[in-house]
Symmetry: C2
């Protein structure tokens, strides 16, 4: 019985199957897509993988991904260097940039405090954040961590750590997401929306 494909195809299916969010059927579908795709599409993908490992690094200032350190945001004189928005991952920077509501700098922690996964404050870019607060003329730090257990724990930790430094420490508002329905809001979200109510 031939229960696996000939060498190269099976190796490609296995390699895709190891990526996050791709199951065995998806990996098979992608492998056959690449097999029938033109040479250029397959070569572009292979090159992009090699290139990202060779070129991409982390910004020495903010910890975001970049090709040259400091990154384009840290190096931009038109941005507001008195504000730092603290996020967990590089992709969170992109999410906030898409709102077009923020013109300050960022600091990427590289995760959140998670005792279950053995991630403590010292495993994150927290010393680098303190270093920036000592040297720069920063006036406000916005804590923009994920609204889940690990993010909340990290927010509380940072809020206590930064409190004595005499700068403004804020966090993102919790409440009902736009376009949602009060009836289907979970009780914690609805509770936060009530607590954080403001003048209409």
């Amino acid at each position: 019985m031939a229960l696996a494909y000939d060498g190269a195809i099976q190796r490609l299916i296995d390699a895709f199957g190891r990526l996050p969010g791709i199951g065995p059927k998806g990996a098979q579908r992608i492998a056959f897509h690449l097999l029938s795709a033109d040479e250029q599409e397959a070569a572009d993908l292979a090159d992009a993988i090699v290139e990202v490992k060779a070129k991409v690094r982390f910004c020495d200032v903010c910890g975001n991904v970049c090709e040259a350190s400091p990154c384009s945001i840290c190096a931009d004189p038109r941005r507001d260097h008195t504000m730092i928005c603290v996020v967990e991952e590089p992709k969170d920077v992109m999410s906030i940039e898409r709102t077009r509501e923020y013109r300050g700098l960022y600091h990427v922690l590289g995760g959140a405090i998670n005792p279950m996964a053995n991630v403590g404050p010292n495993d994150l870019n927290i010393p680098q954040l303190l270093g920036r607060l000592n040297g720069d003329d920063v006036r406000e730090v916005i804590l923009a961590l994920d609204p889940n257990i690990e993010g909340e724990a990290t927010t509380t930790y940072l809020s206590r750590l930064l409190g004595p430094l005499g700068l403004k420490v804020t966090r993102l508002a919790s409440g009902l997401p736009m376009g949602s329905d009060l009836e289907y809001a979970d009780e914690i979200t609805l509770g936060r929306a009530l607590t954080g109510r403001r003048d209409a």
Copy 2:
């Protein structure tokens, strides 16, 4: 505003986003996974993509994917060379092999007749199938196409084409899938199950 990542990461996200079944968020997740994965995992994936394009070809006999033609199934003397199972795609061969119920040969059409997508009988490996039926000592052809409109049309076409050749032409049974519930079966499937009823 930085609404796209620095060069190499964005190129990798774009390249993954072009693959079937991967959306923009999934592509971003995979790109960051590879960025933080060890060098070897990323290199293995890039190598597997290049290798599959370089090594994999189609079997001159059955049209299945292989690294050497004829493929390992066509070249296996222990398999029953009097039966050919006709399928649409190489992945269908693997699905039937996994049942461990079939010991004959295969013929991969490379698709199904689909007038909407301009795929006619001449765009499929049908002439090659006729060639095998002339030369080989084949006694039965099993039509194992997908049970959808295109597959049914192709089954009907092949059944009429092969009928006059004096060999047994069969097709897969239609009916209720195992583990399913009569109440939730669609009417066409249930109708097929009734028409195809057999002695209990």
